[in-house]
């Protein structure tokens, strides 16, 4: 890789051991993935829940945090993905003391590194959306795919160590979606049914994710007949990234780089498949038929926007839940929901509104064992895709059907 003088100095250790580790790490990654040089980035976003970090990861962070001030602090705004708990609700979730202690250690270490503990996976709705063409080092697949596709920003998936490295060096290896030629469509899908509800958008993302098959595929969709909302794009992108490991999509006539199909696709690209409403129902039914009685209902993954919380409150008004209903949002949205009375309306039904965590990043396996949760209902396709591996039987339902399930304790026929 070509290095400039600043990068050579970091590599030589002149900017301290943290930045030396960081640039070394980035060069190993960059060489593997064919980067010719680095590109400056204006923000980094770190996924680092302690279930992923483990004790070893927290100790590793603490070693960096023990360095002198000028050697350890990030150079660019660096923010965090959801944490592994909402401390105010941990006892009700039956999370264990050691989990909370590990979370506190990780938070202390990140703060020492100058990281802003935003604890959100919807920073594109709440913190500072990226600008078209802006290079980022984002670390949450849902954040990356939204920023690349809906906003026209440029980021690869940056796992926690690499996002932290980008924060420390202010740059990232220039490969993948930082390069214009990698952003062209490789897969064309014709959509005959524009989804109506969030779980339909998630199902569409899941189906296309299965077609896409790997990170380097860029699906382009034709046929979406209206402009999706930010929440719809959020659920679609999160599911597409989850099922397919995809980091960029185009919706022709909608997303910023794809005003026309010719802008992002070669003329030789022909549709791989046509996706219809029955395809979405088949996708959803495959999960639905495994579940009758539900143990817990979860709205999370991604964290809910203020408008999702408002819709949910409207569906819950005057009702009473009979099984745990967990509603997860960001620390930026929660105060507004409190101020506007939305939190109180939701919690009056027996539900819990949680802040700064994400269900699957919060020791989901241990919570299942402690609470005897097996069957779960959600409107998040991404969550459904993840939780099978954690021992749950998840069902993908509409928001309204999830509310009904939380009140009845089972899924309506």
């Amino acid at each position: 890789m070509r290095l400039n003088a600043d990068e050579i100095a970091m590599l030589a250790g002149h900017a301290g051991p943290a930045r030396q580790w960081a640039i070394n790490h980035q060069m190993r990654v960059g060489r593997y993935l064919g980067a010719a040089d680095f590109v400056p980035v204006s923000q980094a976003h770190i996924m680092a829940d302690t279930e992923s970090l483990g004790v070893a990861g927290v100790e590793w962070l603490e070693r960096l945090a023990a360095l002198p001030d000028n050697a350890r602090c990030v150079r660019i705004p660096t923010i965090t993905d959801p944490r592994g708990t909402d401390f105010a609700a941990a006892a009700r979730l039956k999370q264990q003391d050691w989990m909370l202690a590990l979370e506190r250690r990780a938070i202390t270490a990140f703060q020492s590194l100058g990281v802003l503990m935003t604890d959100t996976c919807i920073n594109y709705q709440t913190i500072m959306p990226a600008v078209r063409g802006e290079h980022m080092a984002y670390g949450d697949t849902g954040v990356v795919i939204y920023a690349n596709s809906v906003l026209g920003a440029r980021s690869n998936f940056e796992g926690g160590p690499s996002a932290l490295a980008a924060g420390l060096t202010g740059r990232t290896p220039r490969y993948g979606y930082h390069l214009p030629e990698k952003r062209r469509a490789t897969l064309l899908l014709r959509i005959e049914f524009t989804p109506r509800e969030l779980h339909d958008w998630g199902a569409l993302g899941g189906i296309i994710g299965r077609y896409a098959s790997d990170y380097w595929q860029v699906p382009a969709l034709v046929g979406i007949d209206r402009i999706p909302t930010s929440d719809e794009m959020k659920h679609f992108g999160a599911a597409l990234a989850s099922y397919g490991s995809v980091a960029l999509f185009h919706m022709v006539g909608i997303t910023p780089e794809a005003e026309r199909l010719a802008d992002i696709a070669d003329p030789s690209l022909t549709p791989t498949a046509t996706i219809t409403e029955p395809d979405l129902r088949t996708f959803q039914d495959a999960y639905r038929r495994r579940v009758d009685k539900v143990d817990v209902v979860v709205f999370s993954t991604p964290q809910l926007s203020l408008l999702e919380l408002r819709d949910l409150a409207g569906m819950l008004d005057g009702r009473r839940t009979t099984v745990p209903l967990l509603v997860v949002t960001s620390p930026q949205v929660k105060p507004d929901a409190d101020r506007l009375g939305i939190t109180a309306r939701i919690e009056a039904t027996g539900a819990m509104v949680l802040s700064g965590m994400c269900f699957y990043q919060s020791y989901a396996r241990e919570m299942a064992e402690a609470n005897d949760w097996q069957s779960l209902a959600t409107n998040s396709a991404k969550l459904v895709n993840i939780l099978g591996g954690y021992g749950y039987r998840p069902a993908l339902l509409s928001m309204q059907a999830c509310v009904d399930a939380a009140c009845a304790g089972r899924i309506s026929a």
Partner: protein, 149 residues
């Protein structure tokens, strides 16, 4: 001895038994990392132990957590010996770099179709180009954790 050249690799040379499937890999989505088994019911290796095995799979899947999880799995010693994929994503590379883990990807053929499940293989990131070798079967399996070089 049959040899397959790869586009890219990192880590140390390692020998072991191949655990092969035409399926993806994500530490978060697919594994019970406490017990060292594939846990996602739909995965073709569901229920099988990955500890000490050379995983030969199709594509990197899922989210960003694997970048930390490989490091965490390595610290506890509940870890595959190496990961061989047709197609990687950056997360696997970032995780392997942090964990000093052996990984190889990018073949002229579908690597899951040409490596028999249970074969004794050598993953050699240090050769130029990096390559995977199918070794002659021995009467007793080698220690899958044996590192060379």
């Amino acid at each position: 001895m049959t040899e397959f050249q790869a586009a890219a690799a990192m880590g140390k040379r390692v020998q072991g038994r191949a655990l092969v499937a035409k399926d993806g890999f994500s530490a978060r989505y697919d594994l019970d990392r406490i017990n060292g088994v594939f846990s996602r019911p739909e995965h073709k290796l569901a229920g099988q132990s990955y500890v000490g095995q050379i995983l030969v799979l199709d594509a990197a899947k899922g989210g960003v957590a694997t970048a930390w999880m490989l490091h965490e799995m390595s610290a506890r010693g509940v870890m595959p010996a190496a990961l061989v994929l047709n197609s990687i994503n950056p997360i696997m590379v970032q995780g392997a770099a942090l964990a000093d883990f052996t990984m190889m990807s990018g073949f002229q053929v579908d690597i899951t179709a040409v490596v028999p499940n249970g074969a004794l293989v050598e993953v050699d990131p240090e050769s130029d180009p990096p390559c995977l070798r199918i070794l002659p079967l021995r009467s007793t399996p080698p220690n899958p954790d044996t590192h060379h070089g």
